[in-house]
């Protein structure tokens, strides 16, 4: 199991051919209290970089992009009633959606944990 990161502060945790996507702890701290999450619909086909979800803080809306191409297989419905899960537990309970990765090669273009840590230093 590996986790990769985008410069836009999404993570994708890879489990077999599935990726679990959310935003990093750094991102949730920068956004502040999340008050609404717009989830993608299951079955939606995404290209790398497509807008996949929107998280809203008190002040502003931020788009969440697809780190890699694929098809949405599951969304975290708990976020509809409890968007603050993203603040409380961004990289576990606050995951946003799961994606069936269509081209695993795209993962190589993403940052690893050390690379992302450097970016956010």
């Amino acid at each position: 199991m590996t986790t990769k990161f985008t410069p836009d502060h999404e993570y994708i945790r890879v489990e077999g051919s599935t990726g679990i996507v959310g935003i990093t702890n750094y991102a949730q701290e920068a956004l502040g209290d999340i008050v609404f999450v717009e989830l993608p619909s299951v079955g939606k086909v995404l290209k790398k970089g497509d807008e996949a979800a929107v998280v809203e803080s008190v002040k502003a809306a931020s788009e969440i992009y697809a780190p890699v191409a694929g098809t949405v297989t599951e969304v975290n419905e708990a976020l509809s009633s409890e968007p603050g899960l993203i603040n409380a537990d961004p990289e576990a309970g606050g995951w946003i959606y799961k994606i069936a990765i269509s081209n695993a090669g795209e993962l190589d273009g993403l940052l690893d944990a050390a690379g992302y840590a450097d970016l956010t230093k």
Partner: protein, 389 residues
């Protein structure tokens, strides 16, 4: 608002305090100010509604307008200074009692709002007014007032040698009792000066949150000491601009440059109360023809409050009728921490402005239900003294 480059940003006397407290500094109105502290907008908002929030609003434009040659007769001098400011604004200033503050509108000749401002009659200086205008408009406002005052009065700006603090929330009065006990006797929309530190502080019982509270003008050299003294009280926490915006939105208070601009009339903005009866009857304010006609016949658009289902509708979002026709636009919108839902202010034709009207807002291309509701969204809790009978 356009972002000003960091080098050109002004700082307030409390800049170091904000940084030390972990404030996230952003450019606002030409100043570097904290949008939030580490506790976050939601917690700061709720703390203000439950306890007392302390805001640095030194970017605003406090000033004093004083007669060049006062006679010494308080009533005659007040009449003279009122005659200087009244031609620019919508309010009856001549009728103010010493220490009374009035919310007013600076108008252009088309009846558009150039700024909303507070004008108060000095309780101390005959022929003196205390005027507070918005940060983004202060240079233009002050130039306009100075031009009207030539040969009669002078405007003393207090925005660079003073700090302006706002202490807001149900505990504000108990905190002020420790700082300036006399200030707790002030009723809503009155002010006075009190001894504190090396000089006097000017304390107004007003604010921009819908809560009871105070705005305190303090000389720069005493600003940090006053900030620290207020924060030494466990009922007080610092609050940034983010919560200031969500608090005023819940209170249904318009924000200049967003809900008000020079095309919007006071009638459209549902601020008819800011046009005093005497001024209305005489019709001697800028843009009176348009404003009085709109009062009589109704405006073509009017400011409303909306409760929005789903994602917050932000400034610029279209307002749609039940069938999906675009009828207006959101001018301020966001999440209301006290209500746990999204709210907005916007403008629609009066036919759609009835309470309970089912409208829609377009957010990212999707229509979401929105219902017209009365404002304030959260009831005001101002401290109004019972009128002496």
């Amino acid at each position: 608002m356009a972002e000003t480059s960091a080098e050109n940003l002004k700082t307030t006397p409390l800049f170091e305090r904000h940084q030390a407290a972990g404030g996230r500094m952003v450019p606002f109105g030409g100043y570097s100010l904290p949008v939030q502290y580490p506790s976050g907008i939601m917690a700061e908002h709720k703390w203000t509604r439950e306890q007392a929030g302390l805001f640095d609003v030194s970017h605003m434009g406090p000033s004093f307008l004083v007669l060049d040659n006062p006679s010494g007769n308080a009533e005659a001098d007040h009449a003279a200074i009122s005659a200087v400011i009244e031609p620019l604004i919508s309010s009856d200033i001549a009728g103010l009692k010493p220490g009374q503050i009035r919310y007013s509108l600076l108008l252009n000749d088309n009846g558009g709002v150039l700024d909303d401002l507070m004008v108060a009659r000095s309780p101390l200086v005959a022929g003196g007014l205390y005027i507070v205008v918005n940060a983004g408009t202060k240079d233009a406002d002050f130039a306009r007032i100075e031009a009207a005052a030539v040969g009669k009065a002078r405007l003393i700006r207090a925005d660079s040698n003073y700090a302006l603090l706002a202490l807001q929330g149900p505990e504000a009065v108990n905190v002020m009792a420790q700082i300036a006990p006399g200030a707790t006797d002030l009723g809503f929309m009155t002010y006075n000066a009190f001894d504190w530190g090396s000089d006097k502080i000017v304390v107004s019982r007003c604010g921009y949150t819908g809560e009871d509270g105070f705005e305190i003008l303090v000389v720069s050299r005493d600003a940090v000491a006053l900030w620290d003294a207020l924060l030494a009280d466990p009922r007080v926490k610092p609050v940034g601009l983010g919560a200031r915006d969500s608090l005023r939105l819940e209170a249904g208070l318009p924000l200049y440059g967003h809900d008000l601009d020079e095309t919007v009339s006071p009638v459209e903005a549902d601020l008819g109360f800011a046009i005093s009866k005497r001024r209305r009857e005489v019709g001697d304010f800028p843009g009176a023809a348009r404003i009085l006609a709109e009062r009589e016949n109704g405006p073509s658009r009017i400011r409303i409050g909306l409760i929005v289902e789903g994602a917050p509708a932000r400034e610029g979002a279209e307002i749609l009728d039940a069938s999906g026709n675009a009828i207006g636009v959101v001018t301020s919108g966001g999440f209301a921490p006290s209500l746990g839902k999204a709210i907005a202010l916007g403008f629609v034709p009066p036919a759609h402005s009835t309470q309970g009207s089912k409208l829609q807002v377009s957010v990212r291309g999707r229509a979401q239900p929105a219902e017209v509701v009365p404002t304030p969204f959260v009831p005001h809790r101002y401290f109004r003294k019972a009128k002496a009978s």
